[in-house]
Amino acid sequence: MKHIDEYRDAKIARALLAALERKVTRPWVLMEICGGQTHTLMRYGIDTLIPSQIELVHGPGCPVCVTPLEVVEKAIQIASQPDVIFVSYGDMLRVPGSATDLLRVKASGGDVRIAYSPMEAVKIARANPQRRVVFFGIGFETTAPANAMAVMQAKREGLRNFSMLVSHVLVPPAIRLLLESPANRVQGFIAPGHVCTVMGYWEYEALSRQYRVPIVVGGFEPVDLIEAIGMLVAQLEEGRAEAENQYVRSVTLVGNRVAQKVLLEVFEVTDRKWRGIGAIPQSGFRLRPEFAEYDAEKIFGLADTVVEEPAECISAQVLQGLKKPVDCPAFGVRCTPENPLGAPMVSSEGACAAYYQYRRDTVKSS
């Protein structure tokens, strides 16, 4: 299959690995930002194929993982109301709040539906004028344009029964936070290809210049990631710090202008709490005031609850690349995908779930 097979080709991967082996002379710590990339690295065992001097740590780019529990709690409260149809992407359904999760709300009679696109929620709202339809608008810049389109469409049609519970987050402020942390060990970043498809990578050029750190926009297939690692190592070994683009088949410097225009018409940048990391200034999107009537938080007027993470969970350090999932004493023992302590084990994109699902027989604590 074109655009897939050549990026999973063992021969191409081996050639890139051999080139990487020749290039590397010193230890380097690299971080892939996106959970999808973590998933590929673990699934194909790329961490075992690259030279041992290169250490990969895993970033905060799993939208399910960083959605704050307080927002999950609000989603559960909204979805439990009898006149509501709550529509969400599938993998948010299993994230536990304080007492239950959306799958259980559904099992108790709540109308919770899985959608592949927010436009499906608009369609449901159109077909059910007597019900309130709420879409769970989470994710990074990748999902934001489609969510913005859905709100725009609802407004255009004058749908009064559609709203969105928004908890969007942005990648560049999170990278900035990691780089400013005194504990930071990361020397080069693989930036998320899907996010940059929408936003371009000019923001990463500024980051790279300011912090003198190499950043390479990477794709999601094994060959993409090995190539991106090679590009980072080349920069580090040569003493360069630039933003480069490995994922050229999808990403341009300026990104998708049409998508950016739509999302900036509907959303505005705001401070946002990240689960496991805390509040990051100017790190999220919220609906602009002119779309307030589509803001589920305002419509349902829910108060903020404080939800504490289980004390044993080290997801905060995992999401910042300070620790690996296997460094956690609960990993695979008291924390499994069936009984997760924290979000990185719940979400299929989470680093803990990736380690558990693919490699729990061989991975060792570092």
Partner: protein
Amino acid sequence: MMCPTPLVARDKILLGHGSGGKLSADLIESIFLPAFHNPVLARLDDQGVVTINGAKLAVTTDSFVVKPLFFRGGDIGSLAVHGTVNDLAMGGAQPLFLTVAFILEEGLPMDTLRRVVDSLAGAARAAGVQIITGDTKVVEKGSGDGIFINTTGIGLVPEGVELSASAARPGDCVILSGSIGEHGMAILSEREGLEFETALESDSAALDTLVATMLAADGRIHTLRDPTRGGVSSSLNEIARQSGVGIEIEESAIPVRDPVRGACELLGLDPLYVANEGKLIAMVDAAAADAVLAAMRSHPLGRDACAIGSVTAAHPGLVTMRTLLGPSRIVDMLAGDQLPRIC
């Protein structure tokens, strides 16, 4: 302050309990096995095999709740025959008789029922099984989903045939009868209104004659499983656990047709976990593997049969896969259903 305690899935039935994954296995182990315990059931095969007056009978039952009722490559009627016939066939039994029970929802168009019944009758005729008794119940509108069907099947296990999911042995060759994921993705794409260049079609088919062909070629077959709900990965995990062996498969050896791959890539699903209704996995003595493979390839439903791995004494209960790049990874059983990813 509230503290999020991990949720143990024991307080309520979730959809995941019907997924064929870990939650389904939990349900069987914690509720059904203790209540019904007996040696036949304890084998946890797709069918119970009992000997009555010297005749070895295989009995199995299956309920069908598929939505939509009609899909490319089949419908709930033909599926209700194929599913049960295949569960008998996986025990090496020759399917003989079926019972059929309908649970119909008030308001169901009579024409829909007629189409389903015609299809069911046709599939039964083609598989050479007779429907010898049945039952009908009607539930109020909203209490069902059009049509639910239960079929129970009875078959005769030939002398000397002894197949079980607990009989795989280290050294066995793992054989797959063809490309995977077609039924699940056909249903999903129909349900979600997804269109692809090449239409996805369910592989729903009766496998009894394929099994008979295999057994005739060489009797050294230890285990047969049809990888339905939960897909190939769940079946392999069940066999590994029940036989107390490890299983190692090769990613490059597993046939997945392009339309299935494309749809899976699009939705973020892994074809290893997607349902099949016309495929089987066989654990075969390595010395018999070539003969069994050749026999399978001579049968229309086994044309693309291939060896995908082997059984090992290492890592009992665990299934691993050598990926395209070389390193091995675990192929786990999912907790519940595969949920489409966000991005």
